[in-house]
């Protein structure tokens, strides 16, 4: 799992046993993490001065993921998807991954339905936010908290 440097580095640098079980000498490693503030800043970059209202967006993720490497995600937005009224974009952000941006989808009336799915990485238990931009310039969002677990037996590869 890419973004879990603290645990990985325990096993490699400390030679495995002690660090893996939390026994003996512990080498502290500062994990690379974004912060909730960094996520807000990333959202601000996308929406500018506009207000983001909760609603109309549905972010579906499992509340507990079996492995942070691969967490399925689906976002749908209520919209008639006509030339006059459609979803322009859907952006996904995380709070505590090393960087807050995850993906930006660009849609349009030709999509027919505003619904996209993918699989993402989550470095740790955290909040995921989906922000949608509509053709009228308004922004809407949904938020999900996901608990992330680790594989029990990390290998040396």
């Amino acid at each position: 799992m890419a973004e879990h440097p603290s645990r990985r580095e325990f096993l490699r640098v400390a030679g495995g046993v002690a660090a893996g079980l939390g026994l003996g000498a512990v080498i502290t490693v500062t994990p690379a993490r974004a912060t909730p503030a960094a996520m807000q800043e990333a959202i601000r970059k996308v929406v500018g001065a506009s207000k983001v209202s909760p609603g109309r967006v549905k972010l579906e993720m499992p509340p507990l993921s079996e492995n942070g490497n691969t967490v399925p995600l689906t976002v749908s937005v209520e919209s008639p998807m006509t030339a006059a009224d459609y979803v322009k974009a859907i952006h996904v952000f995380t709070e505590l991954n090393p960087q807050p941006d995850v993906v930006s989808f660009r849609l349009g009336p030709r999509a027919g339905r505003a619904r996209v799915a993918t699989r993402i990485r989550l470095a740790t238990t955290q909040t995921v936010v989906a922000v949608s931009e509509l053709s009228d310039g308004s922004f809407w969002s949904d938020t999900v908290a996901v608990v992330v677990t680790l594989a029990a037996c990390l290998e040396d590869a």
Binding site: A2, P5, N69, T118, I120
Partner: protein, 106 residues
């Protein structure tokens, strides 16, 4: 691995919304991992996915390292006419893969 796995219905009715699923082989190396000697493994990801329908862009995704290896993207489009859907993935280290699928629209 095989480059990509595309799932597009072969036929659709005019006006029908069709779901398209795409899967492509790629490690999506984040740039945050370290190798055995402690050195950072350089970032190597797909950054852009663009879908076109008879030459017109219908969908685009801008990817960051948080997208899982072997990126899976599902989206939809309205079946407007028979023709070709083209999918292009581009990224770091001059990565570029293009695949197409035909659709017959009645």
């Amino acid at each position: 691995m095989a480059g990509a796995l595309i799932n597009v219905p072969e036929r659709a009715k005019r006006g029908e919304i069709v779901e398209i699923k795409t899967l492509i082989s790629h490690p999506m190396e984040t740039g945050y991992r370290r190798n055995q000697s402690g050195a950072r493994v350089e970032r190597d990801i797909i950054r852009l996915f663009v879908a076109t329908y008879n030459g017109t862009e219908i969908f685009r995704a801008e990817l960051h390292p948080a997208i899982t290896a072997n990126p899976f993207i599902v989206f939809s489009t309205v079946a407007t006419e028979s023709g070709t859907l083209t999918f292009k993935w581009t990224g770091d280290n001059a990565f570029s893969v293009t695949e197409s699928a035909s659709i017959t629209v009645d």
